[in-house]
């Protein structure tokens, strides 16, 4: 919604507008000739008589210099987004991504039905310093990339990928949808690249540089994991398998394809936790975290509110501009009419007056439209941060699931220990020992050793994720402060600048009609 650039309607209205604007020799407003709504060169001529009415510095000038022709705020780009490692941000470290040239390709299927479904691929170009690499990717591969990153970089605040949005796809025109997706992909990849850790990741590098389909990595082989889990389940249930577990696997969250037994256990654990039967491990730290989480939720709520109101504001600014334009056109028609039909000098005078009104109204209308285009770009930051909040929530759930793993292993250990204890007590009563029970105790002790190692891994992982959370929040907080400050400043400068320009337009009209003022009789 806020991401779309404001599209102007080039219609015969523009013809009529040019009737009043072309003749204007005074404050030569170059914007009148361009109907695309892009910012032109600074149009306030230095000889304009109205500069003297404005306090220096006039923000009317400022707004035109802070944006390059792409409409990107250069100051924003340079406010060190290239991460902590790149120091002074040397040219060679800066990666520039662009997504372009969507092409339709046919799905290769083995089905006998001719004319299979089609999909689009996009050319992703990465420019680093002097070198340039381009690959073709389809959206499905982007989804895969985002899933891999989520698995590999738990605890980090990873930018959220564009949606699959099947509803929009059905409703929109194909070209429109493809263009929307192209823009979204570009934004997403740029965000990934500017993340201090993700931007340097191997997964991203492969995605951006390697031609052809991405190689499958171990962790993405969902099917085989499912098989593993299903095969192991019966043996685990009967307790006969010695649990030779890949420690790394332990620390991964239990997924639908993985260890089914583990899922059951963790589910049981989370239920236990919720019912408060088991004490949460580390209370104080959790509280600080919970406070922070609450605060962030509150912030998200307010942000969402402001974002909504901002959208309304933009809409009403747009309406104002449109109506002003229509008023101007009505006066253009009146001017034409009175000029053609004039029988009296008073009519000619009135026609001239109306022409001035029309000119002012049309100019003001264009200013409103420009103002709006800029406002959208500024306030879009709000929308962007709502996306960031989503990513933060994902990072938080990484933490929660890591904690759950730790707690599950803890209580697993606890139950193993108590079983051992019971067996030992029972075995000690039998004179000479109990062969079966002794064997069982040995097995359980082995299980305890494995589980303890696993728990050490899980603890480490949890700590790691907590630290990721913390450093990411710190980083984001700082960025947010500066982003929002820039946004506020940009928004205010914008509003002030355009208000000044509009004041100039109306002051001119007031001067042109000053003969009618009540001060003169």
């Amino acid at each position: 919604m806020m991401n779309q650039d404001h599209v102007l309607h080039a219609s015969q209205d523009d013809e009529m507008e040019s009737l009043v604007l072309h003749d204007d020799n005074g404050n030569g407003n170059g914007n009148g000739n361009d109907s695309s709504g892009n910012i032109q060169q600074p149009s306030q001529s230095p000889k304009s008589p109205f500069n003297s009415f404005l306090d220096p510095p006039s923000y009317a000038e400022a707004i035109f210099t802070s944006f390059d022709s792409n409409g990107h705020d250069q100051t924003l780009e340079q406010s060190s987004r290239s991460g902590t490692g790149s120091g002074s941000g040397s040219e060679s470290d800066c990666m520039q991504i662009s997504v372009s040239d969507p092409q339709e390709e046919q799905e290769l299927t083995n089905s006998l039905v001719p004319g299979g479904s089609s999909y689009h691929t996009y050319l992703i170009t990465t420019r680093t310093g002097k070198s340039e690499v381009g690959v073709r990717r389809r959206f499905r591969e982007v989804v895969t990339l985002s899933e891999r990153l989520s698995e590999a970089y738990r605890g980090y605040v990873i930018p959220v990928r564009p949606e699959k949005s099947s509803v929009e796809r059905k409703v929109m025109q194909k070209e429109e949808f493809v263009e929307q997706r192209r823009v979204a992909l570009e934004k997403y990849l740029r965000k990934l690249v500017s993340h201090p850790v993700i931007g340097k990741s191997e997964e991203l590098r492969l995605f951006l540089e390697v031609q052809g389909k991405l190689p499958l990595m171990r962790t993405t082989d969902v099917a085989s994991r499912m098989l593993d889990g299903a095969v192991r389940l019966p043996r685990q249930l009967f307790g006969s398998e010695s649990v030779a577990v890949d420690l790394n696997d332990v620390t991964q969250p239990a997924r639908s394809g993985r260890d089914l037994l583990r899922i059951f256990k963790e589910l049981k654990q989370s239920v236990t936790n919720d019912w408060g039967a088991a004490k949460p491990l580390v209370v104080e730290e959790d509280r600080e975290f919970m406070d922070k989480k609450d605060k962030l939720m509150e912030f998200e709520q307010q942000l969402s509110n402001v974002s909504q109101q901002a959208e309304s504001l933009v809409k009403f600014q747009q309406d104002m501009g449109e109506t002003m334009g229509e008023l101007g056109l009505a006066f253009v028609k009146l001017t034409k009419f009175e000029s053609e039909e004039a029988e009296f000098e008073s009519q000619r005078v009135r026609a001239a007056d109306m022409r001035n009104v029309a000119t002012a109204a049309v100019k003001a209308s264009r200013l409103y439209r420009e103002l709006n285009t800029q406002t959208i770009k500024h306030l879009d930051k709000l929308h962007e941060y709502l996306g960031t909040m989503l990513a933060i929530n994902n990072a938080f759930s990484d933490r929660s699931s890591a904690l759950l793993t730790v707690q599950t292993l803890s209580s697993e250990l606890a139950s193993l220990h108590s079983r051992i204890e019971k067996l030992e007590v029972a075995a000690s009563r039998i004179f000479g020992g109990d062969k079966t029970r002794m064997r069982k105790i040995e097995e359980l002790k082995e299980a305890v050793r494995v589980t303890e190692s696993a728990k050490i891994c899980a603890d480490r992982e949890y700590e790691r994720i907590k630290e990721n959370n913390r450093s990411e929040l710190e980083r984001i907080d700082k960025e947010r402060q500066s982003d929002f400050q820039n946004m506020l400043r940009g928004f205010v400068v914008n509003q002030a600048g355009y208000a000044e320009k509009m004041a100039a337009v109306w002051e001119k009209l007031a001067e042109e009609t000053s003969t009618y003022s009540s001060n003169n009789s």
Binding site: F299, S312, D319, L327, E343, F344, S346, A499, W506, Y516
Partner: protein, 401 residues
């Protein structure tokens, strides 16, 4: 609503023309709501200051209501055919809007302009009905008002005349009907001009009204935006939070400015445009009167010819009905001459009026445009100042990071 009847000076709106020596100056002020429920209405205080000998004294104050003004207009329309009678504001249909402060003030202003235009028109100011309106006791006015409604044309009747004239003129233009109309090319041009002008003006007025609405909407939106931003600032805390709060407060201030300007726009720009439309409609009514007068003149001329032929026939056969026929003929001749005179007066007056009308409208519109420009400039400068004043505070917030 102001119920104190202090003798404040005449609050002449910018469009009321001043009258010359000898002078007749009128003001309409102090609207007061009287009566209850459905019967409720607004009464106005009308103050007349004059040195005309026909008037009772140098100053007179009376209480009048809207329908009294309507009566005056109807009487003038009847008596002064050919003259463009100044228009009065419409009767508002929307019930709940009827007593809003803005509506009452707008109507008061329009009525003030109406009476003053009459008072400064060289012919209309001599009107006896005007004198009655400005001086008669309330009971007299009430009697006149209720007495006359049956006889003279009501606004709904005028509406019908407009429609008839409109269809007849367009018929003539399209060549549909055999004209019992004038074949004056200049006049045809004028009629076409008037009808087209109304369309153009109505469109401009429509957009002006919408512009007022847009101001109100944008104002409301800024207020909502400001509130939301303030809440965000509160949850943010630190220096940035303060910056947000300041932004929110400025938004709310600007919201107020926009609402104020909306009202200004309504009164000094949209209303004059509406007034212009009404004036054009009044001219259309005069056009209808002229058409009636012309038709009457033609009819009488026709009838007279027939009577003449008949008379000659009777004289030839030396009938004893000759005397009566002769008498009838002479009566008819007098009537016909009167009708011709009426028609020619209308034509003469209209020719004078049209020039005066164009001049008046250029002046009225010029003032309206000037006020429009001033208002918009005032608003834009207010907005620029407000946002500019925020910038140093923003710098302060960022420097404390």
């Amino acid at each position: 609503m102001n119920s104190s009847r202090s003798s404040s000076g005449a609050s002449l709106s910018p469009r009321s023309p001043s009258s010359s020596q000898p002078f007749l100056s009128v003001s309409v002020s102090d609207p007061v709501k009287l009566g209850n429920g459905v019967q409720a209405y607004i009464s106005y205080r009308v103050i007349t200051k004059t040195n005309f000998p026909e008037y009772q004294g140098p100053e007179k104050i009376v209480i009048r209501r809207y329908s009294d003004f309507v009566w005056l207009r109807d009487r003038l329309f009847e008596k002064y055919k050919g003259i463009f009678i100044p228009p009065i504001p419409e009767k508002s249909a929307v019930e709940k809007f009827r007593f809003s402060a803005e509506f009452i003030e707008m109507r008061r202003q329009a009525l003030d302009v109406f009476v003053n235009r009459i008072a400064s028109h060289h012919e209309l100011r001599q009107s006896e009905d005007l004198r009655t309106f400005l001086q008669a006791e309330e009971e007299t006015m009430e009697r006149l008002r209720s007495h006359e409604t049956g006889i003279f044309k009501k606004p709904s009747d005028l509406m019908q005349i407009f429609k008839d004239v409109q269809s007849k003129v367009s018929d003539v233009v399209l060549g549909k009907e055999k004209p019992v109309e004038e074949s004056d090319a200049e006049y045809e041009k004028l009629k076409r001009y008037i009808f087209e002008l109304e369309n153009h003006l109505a469109e401009a007025q429509k957009h002006a009204y919408r512009l007022v609405k847009r101001h109100r909407e944008l104002g409301q939106s800024l207020s909502d935006f400001g509130k939301a931003v303030k809440l965000l600032g509160a949850s943010e805390g630190n220096a940035l939070g303060k910056a947000f709060s300041e932004l929110g407060m400025k938004s709310e201030i600007l919201s107020v400015k926009l609402q104020k300007e909306a009202q200004e726009l309504l009164m000094s720009f949209e209303e004059p445009l509406k007034d212009y439309v009404r004036a054009v409609q009044s001219i259309k009514a005069t056009i209808a009167e002229r058409a009636n007068a012309f038709r009457r003149q033609c009819e009488l001329a026709e009838t007279m010819k027939l009577k003449e032929i008949n008379l000659d026939k009777l004289m030839l056969i030396r009938s004893d009905k000759v005397a009566e026929a002769e008498r009838e003929y002479h009566e008819l001749k007098a009537e016909s001459e009167q009708a011709t005179k009426t028609f020619e007066t209308i034509v003469k007056l209209m020719n004078e009026e049209i020039g005066r009308f164009q001049e008046q409208k250029t002046l009225d519109m010029g003032i309206a445009f000037h006020e429009f420009a001033k208002g918009q400039a005032r608003l834009a400068n207010g907005i620029a100042d407000a946002w500019r004043s925020l910038l140093p505070k923003l710098e302060a917030c960022s420097s404390s990071q």
